[in-house]
Subunit: 254 residues, 2 copies
């Protein structure tokens, strides 16, 4: 006897552009990859393709930096237009580090580098990709769309890679969740020896996002991963990744 | 075409006791579960069973709390003997929270609640389980032992569940690593569009630890998970989880 969970990442998802029907593109890739969708599947989708489909892109050439952005950028040797976009996407700036890294709290409550803004070169210009405005809403929409197309409504996790204090390297976390409880609350549940566990709440949506990265990879064109065989608390939509954001009153490192 | 990673957790691993030959017990469970070991497998093992096998246990009844522990415990309504054990296992205390939660830096450099000390009831008394003294050494030893028993030397990750600032819930991270590079350094590697990525170092050992939790579970008696199909940078032993500990000079939240 053993437990078995599979992480399945289809190839063949093309470069996503604003206005693309992401659910339809994913459905096709799942069909072509002979993966499909099964009951209890969790679909992990990278933030980047969701943001692109939703048109959350800003051409740096179109950005007029504020005096504050110019001051920051000059001080840290950065592009003032990039700093401007990061500041616009930040509800609060927590730290500025050497090299111009900005740690901010986004309007969603996520604490991450550069407010989740990614820069990439598209043609001749630089384009900033922003986080979705409402990643939980994006996840719900994708779950519903895939349910219509494939006849099974998956849970959906939208992932992004965040750094952490005290530990090197970035890990994937959940920034949008639909169809599963993002937190598995084992408080009061008996452990393997039948004793009651007291203070265990597991951020399963974050662990699912991290797991997906193992199959999806970072440089590969595999922005979608099916997590199959993981039975967790399924809900129609649930509280979303918003439930993963710590109440600042409880945060020991605000 | 698609990428596929499996997470396989054998049943049947008994309660581990000090002095148990953990490699032999795991080897038997992998054989009995028809899982075995294959080239490139990563074996994830929870800290709790490693600590128990290594005898990293303290009976609370044997602990004489220091005046400092008594003062802390009185202030927060905790058992002074528990506080004493946590303080002994802490290189530095970062925060004391209401309810008596202590956030410390361990001698290994890990920042976590209660210095990684778990309490459980064994018979009539309470027993504290401490982190392994040298989790990277434990991982190397288990990798070598399993290699001898099964003819394939796996990479080994020893996992524990840590809380994080800013996000609710705990997630599994790597506290000991052997046989793989814990950090995947993509700096300078081209992304899917052939552009050069600039600042991406992925904490793959932490993601592997998190992934394993999906198959191993928290309340289940499945402290061992085989991650199969994930091809990462394999090394004979490598820098271990020590490479995941951030240099305090670079930490924005010291």
């Amino acid at each position: 006897m053993s437990a078995r969970v599979e992480l399945l990442a289809p190839d063949g998802i093309p470069e996503i552009r604003p206005g693309d029907d992401l659910a339809a593109i994913i459905a096709e890739a799942l069909r072509d990859g002979d993966i499909g969708l099964q009951e209890d599947d969790v679909l992990v989708i990278t933030q980047k393709v969701v943001s692109k489909a939703e048109g959350r892109l800003v051409e740096l050439a179109s950005v007029s930096p504020s005096p504050e952005a110019v001051e920051y950028a000059t001080r840290w040797g950065k592009d003032p237009r990039q700093v401007e976009v990061v500041l616009r996407e930040s509800a609060e700036v927590l730290r500025m580090a050497e090299g111009g890294l900005i740690i901010s709290r986004t309007p969603h409550g996520f604490v991450c580098a550069n407010a989740g803004v990614d820069l990439s070169n598209v043609g001749d210009g630089e384009v900033a990709t922003l986080l979705p405005l409402d990643p939980d809403g994006s996840a719900r929409g994708l779950a519903a769309g895939l349910g219509e197309l494939l006849g099974v409504r998956p849970a959906v996790v939208i992932s992004d890679s965040f750094g952490r204090p005290w530990r090197n390297g970035i890990v994937n976390v959940a920034i949008g969740v639909a169809g599963l409880e993002p937190l598995l609350d084992l408080r009061g549940a008996p452990d393997a020896q039948g004793r009651v566990m007291h203070s265990t709440v597991i951020a399963v949506a974050d662990e699912i996002a991290s797991a997906a990265e193992l199959a999806g990879g970072k440089t590969d064109q595999r922005p979608v991963v099916v997590v199959r065989g993981y039975t967790t608390s399924r809900v129609v939509d649930g509280p979303g990744a918003a439930a993963l954001v710590m109440d600042r009153a409880h945060d020991l490192f605000p």
